[in-house]
């Protein structure tokens, strides 16, 4: 158990390419932090810097009170779950789980106890003597997590652990990871490009873009008050409508802003609404429908109840307080 501090962390590759810069994150003991961002935003690099698999060009990583910049991965007291699980294919599940403990000269009885305990928690007891290739994707995923659990490390690092699973299993495993983390109270750093996974798992989200932190906050804070146009467009599904302020001059505050953001669920159909939506497509989701269209040349999506009336032109009114205004130059939130 430990806190993790990323202090002005930066990564510059040989050749001068900057992957990550000015990252400051304080992770409290037992907290579940999710790093989220589009591919190439530096989130995996950041995680690998914490793990010690990537050298640190600038700043400091502290685990507990200890600066670990120059500490070997093995000595950082962390465990990592890889995207491809990275199970040792020539070892049985039991050997996979025990390998890290064996290398640390843990007594045999203690290894057995911890392996059996982890197997119990993850319900992989009956696979212990199988080789990884005889397991399904979900089972491999559990073994990979088991390998992290048995070590009883100060922190778990997850590198997109669910992205190789099919959609249904992903949702199930997501919940399991959440429950497991709540139960073990181990500080966790989790990387994903899936904003839904990020929202559901995180105590706090770190939204990254182009190697920089765009916003840090709880899922609801980030959802309700996105700090920038990028975060606004990235978090939330369907994505927030980002309209050029010039196209909707009648909306309050748009005179000074560059972009006006409105979530699809924050628009109501009214007879005299100021926004005129030319409907181009409708997607039925069952519980609700997504209506796509454009207004004044800007693309726009709204969500409506599945029984709402449809027509080619809808007049829309934004709910009060639902407008997000972003700066023309920086894209930063204006209020």
């Amino acid at each position: 158990m430990a806190s993790i501090t990323l202090d002005n962390l930066g990564k510059i590759y040989a050749g001068g390419t900057r992957a990550v810069g000015d990252v400051n994150i304080d992770i409290a003991d037992g907290e579940f932090i999710v790093l989220v961002g589009p591919s190439g935003c530096g989130k995996s690099t950041l995680l690998r810097m914490v793990a010690g698999l990537e050298s640190i060009s600038e700043g400091e990583v502290r685990i507990g009170d200890r600066v670990v910049n120059e500490v070997e991965p093995a000595d950082r007291d962390i465990a990592m779950v890889f995207q491809n699980y990275a199970l040792y294919p020539h070892m049985s599940v039991r050997e996979n789980l025990a390998y890290g403990l064996k290398n640390r000269r843990t007594p045999k009885a203690e290894i057995d106890r911890r392996v059996d305990e982890a197997a119990e928690i993850l319900q992989i007891g009956k696979f212990l003597d199988r080789k990884p290739k005889a397991l399904s994707g979900g089972q491999r995923q559990r073994v990979a997590m088991g390998r992290a659990i048995v070590r009883e490390p100060a922190a778990f690092l997850f590198d997109e652990p669910l992205s190789n699973l099919d959609a249904k299993l992903r949702v199930a495993m997501r919940l399991e990871i959440k429950e497991l983390q709540k139960r073990l109270r181990t500080t966790s750093l989790y990387v994903t490009h899936d904003q839904l996974e990020a929202m559901t798992l995180a105590d706090r989200l770190v939204v990254l873009n182009g190697g920089r932190v765009e916003q840090i906050g709880t899922p609801l804070e980030v959802y309700r008050r996105p700090a920038s146009a990028f975060v606004a467009g990235f978090i939330g599904s369907p994505a927030m409508n980002l309209l050029d302020a010039g196209a909707v001059p009648f909306l309050p505050g748009s005179a000074h802003a560059g972009q006006v953001g409105i979530r699809p669920e924050d628009l109501d159909v009214t007879a005299d609404g100021p926004i005129e939506l030319q409907v181009t497509a409708v997607e039925e989701l069952g519980a609700q429908r997504l209506v796509h269209g454009h207004t004044a040349g800007e693309r726009m999506t709204i969500t409506l109840p599945s029984d709402a009336a449809l027509s080619d032109v809808l007049r829309l009114t934004p709910r009060p307080g639902a407008l997000h205004l972003f700066d023309r130059q920086t894209g930063a939130r204006m209020d």
Partner: protein, 292 residues
């Protein structure tokens, strides 16, 4: 697999003909001749030939020179295999750790493969030549008197080095490919699991490389036993005192120098059997990949 249906029955045979002719003329026919010859005995002038059954084979087992050749071949093949595979594995691991310059090294390390065995033999023969070579001079500085013309062990060392050197390129390429097929995340996971570089190599890398290693083991043994004729012929010619007279060289020497066709043919049949066994081993196990 893609199947092509030929309308004309003759065309596929025509397309196959060049390969079939080559196989027949240069392999099947001489091989059949050797088998036939191995049951015959000719007199010294080749005027009379008589059928002797398995006598030629029986004689081999009582022949001290032949038994010596078996032993020499075993020592030679094992030494060449271990030396060339060991060195190329070290080189491959070194190159695998490089990021930018690995292509340059790979290209350079492949060159020896383009050198003909006889040329490789001559090359090392010059390097180790007791009169003009650089290595005997260097060895003399540390007090070793190198002479592969009179010393059996020196001669063996020379042919082993020359043969192994040529095979390093081939092994190296396969090892590099094998290493690159091992996901980096496995080694990273092992590093986080507390395994140091040496431990990682023996616990993770080497076991996962075993299909490549096994394949190369068979290939190298076959190479050492059959393709090193040129090296031996250009350097020691089987000497001194039979010390480097490996089976394939003895077949040639007894047949074409000693003119003992019956014995030579029987020896080549034994060799053929060996190739057969090695080929079966290779197909049975390598094609299925070694289990891990």
């Amino acid at each position: 697999m893609k199947r092509t249906i030929f309308r004309n029955q003759l065309l596929p045979w025509l397309l196959l003909a060049p390969q079939l002719v080559i196989t027949f003329v240069f392999f099947l026919w001489p091989a059949a001749q050797a088998v036939k010859q191995s049951f015959l005995r000719e007199d010294a002038f080749g005027t009379r030939t008589s059928f002797v059954g398995l006598a030629n084979f029986e004689k081999l087992w009582g022949n001290a020179e032949y038994l010596n050749s078996l032993q020499v071949t075993a020592v030679f093949a094992i030494s060449v295999t271990i030396l060339s595979m060991g060195l190329s594995l070290i080189l491959a691991v070194a190159v695998d750790r490089m990021i930018r310059s690995s292509r340059v090294y790979t290209t350079l390390l492949v060159w020896p493969y383009a050198v003909a065995p006889a040329v490789a033999g001559i090359l090392w023969w010059f390097i180790f030549n007791p009169t003009i070579g650089i290595m005997p001079y260097v060895l003399a500085q540390v007090g070793y008197d190198w002479n592969h013309i009179s010393s059996k062990s020196d001669a063996m060392t020379l042919v082993v080095i020359a043969s192994a050197w040529k095979q390093i390129s081939y092994n190296f390429l396969f090892f590099v490919a094998g290493l690159q097929a091992i996901p980096a995340s496995l080694r990273e996971a092992a590093a986080i699991d507390g395994a140091g570089p040496v431990r990682r190599f023996f616990d993770i890398t080497f076991p996962l490389l075993s299909p490549t290693t096994f394949f190369l083991l068979v290939v190298n043994i076959v190479y050492a036993m059959f393709d090193t004729f040129g090296v031996i012929d250009a350097t020691t010619e089987g000497g001194p005192a039979q010390a480097t007279n490996i089976m394939v060289y003895k077949v040639y020497f007894d047949g074409f120098v000693g003119q003992n066709m019956g014995s030579s043919a029987a020896q080549s049949v034994v060799l053929m059997m060996l190739v057969l066994v090695l080929t079966v081993v290779q197909f049975r196990y390598v094609e299925k990949k070694v289990e891990y």
